[in-house]
Assembly symmetry: C2
Amino acid sequence: MATRKEVADKAGVSVATVSYVMNNKQGVSEETRARVWQAITELEYKPSYAARSLKIQKSNNLAVFINYLGDPFEAGLLNHLEERAREAGYFLNFQTFSSETEIEFRHQFAGRVDGLLLIGQTLQAETLQTLRANNLPIVSITQAASDHSFDAIADIDWEMAMYQLLTHLYEQGHRRIAFMENEHYNHPHHYRKIAFVKAMERLQLTFNEQYFLQGGGRLEQAQQQMYSYLRASSSEKFTAFVAASDLMAIGMLTACRQLQIAVPEELAICGCENILMTTQTEPEITTIHYPRKEVAYAAVDLISKLLQQQSAPSYKISTELVLRKSTIQQVSLV
Amino acid sequence: MATRKEVADKAGVSVATVSYVMNNKQGVSEETRARVWQAITELEYKPSYAARSLKIQKSNNLAVFINYLGDPFEAGLLNHLEERAREAGYFLNFQTFSSETEIEFRHQFAGRVDGLLLIGQTLQAETLQTLRANNLPIVSITQAASDHSFDAIADIDWEMAMYQLLTHLYEQGHRRIAFMENEHYNHPHHYRKIAFVKAMERLQLTFNEQYFLQGGGRLEQAQQQMYSYLRASSSEKFTAFVAASDLMAIGMLTACRQLQIAVPEELAICGCENILMTTQTEPEITTIHYPRKEVAYAAVDLISKLLQQQSAPSYKISTELVLRKSTIQQVSLV
DNA sequence: TTGTAAGCGTTATCAA
DNA sequence: TTGATAACGCTTACAA
């Protein structure tokens, strides 16, 4: 790799001039500028990121805390995050986050990234403090369950969305509506449970802890839990299930097929997110649409602003229900 | 952020000594070592990555060229890559790669990452040359279609696997076997087509260009192409389809369901990779198992070795077929 | 319009 | 066993 010094020598100027040219500063004569560019091209000179970072105290790297790349919802979000980050000149470091590794984790980022993008995780107070001390702005995509204030949040209006979804089920005649949750509290799914509970209360529907199955956010576990639930003989069964994620909804649907439970006739199932796979199942799955591209772009824009000391108000949009066969019956239950 | 100088002052030693302690060099008295550690802890000192990178000319970052994060196969691979990279002390930069951006792309990495992890892409000769000039080792996960030699490759034995898959179809009575390809040549799917062609020849099965449908690697396109194919009236129809990816196989299955074509009775469908979703469809999909964790770990290990100037021989393992209902009939076609 | 030089926070060589 | 000090390659006053 050619260095700036070599370019300077070749062009017969000082190193400073090379910098001026590289950074498009004005006050350099056209003639010198051309000569310097020529040398740059010939030597295939590329500035050193490390040196530049050290000097300006910026890395142009952003860390993204992910929960599980095997979830298509998250992968889709990351896809768009990366897209937008590139436009903005950032490199992204994807980091799988879990509570077990949180403590060693929190010291990893100072000086290595300029900011953090979370996906609905709940951080320990001390982690938050360390990150703050290192002057790292934090933007969360999707609301975390605990409300420690990040610098900004980009999300949909979950309470509204969940209320709409439950209203739809209510109109279809459902009264006993259960929820497949993700029992890990520091996970974006957890806030969806909170929204579910609020919506149930608002509709004055009864529920208790029995109404919550633990799917762990994973398809396999959701499928297995649903299977157990369906096999357990119980006098009063639920008539509808909301899953905290589409992936879990898909697992539940498979459990129903295995046990020959008709969906939606015997049981309605719906999810959150609207991942592509919900259109490939039989029946297709009713869900809450989560506009991944829009939210991801907003999140990158927010953190860009924060890094330029601009104000960055949180972004929260309303969204739509996607009604599909898994909750729609010809004849209502009522 | 405290710097090394502050630590040195606080501990009453020189900056060099702090470095010795941080890097666990021997030759420092226990007493000084303790004093320095104390200062480090109290000041919450963390070494600066940028400074360190500049000095030792290493970033401990690796770039990963991805094709499409929306494909669960790739996302799964990345999940394991990240896992292993973390153990090895690397941060990963995921970069969506496409031919359109390849030219600007190739200058982005010098000095910013220590090496590259590809996922079956085919690079232009000049890109390869630039990367080489910058002394970046390149390891490819899955074989690229063109055989420019990377420093190492971690993959399964596609030719063997595809031959096994076709043999299975052959034994089920199929003779007219088509392939849903990904027409983008610089993509891992492309090598699977090559393996398919070889296996067809080995089994002495006839085929021509009509035998290839273009699915673009995406579920939506595969579904649509399959739909068109199925609707087009043709005297001689294929009896089996191999898709270059499971995602495309799923799209094809949906097209069949939409047109009420029975799988596997009227048409057999199978894929490659064995993503989780192939167990959630009706019928479940026969596929080639791709051990993502194993291959991903191997790839990170290979690049680690290369970065330590150790020899790193390519890794190629045989794999297994996963037989499921989408290709298995009670009564054979023969 | 261009050059000089200090400094970013490390590592590592050489002395002491 | 420890301390000075010269790089690493860049940015940016300030000087010329």
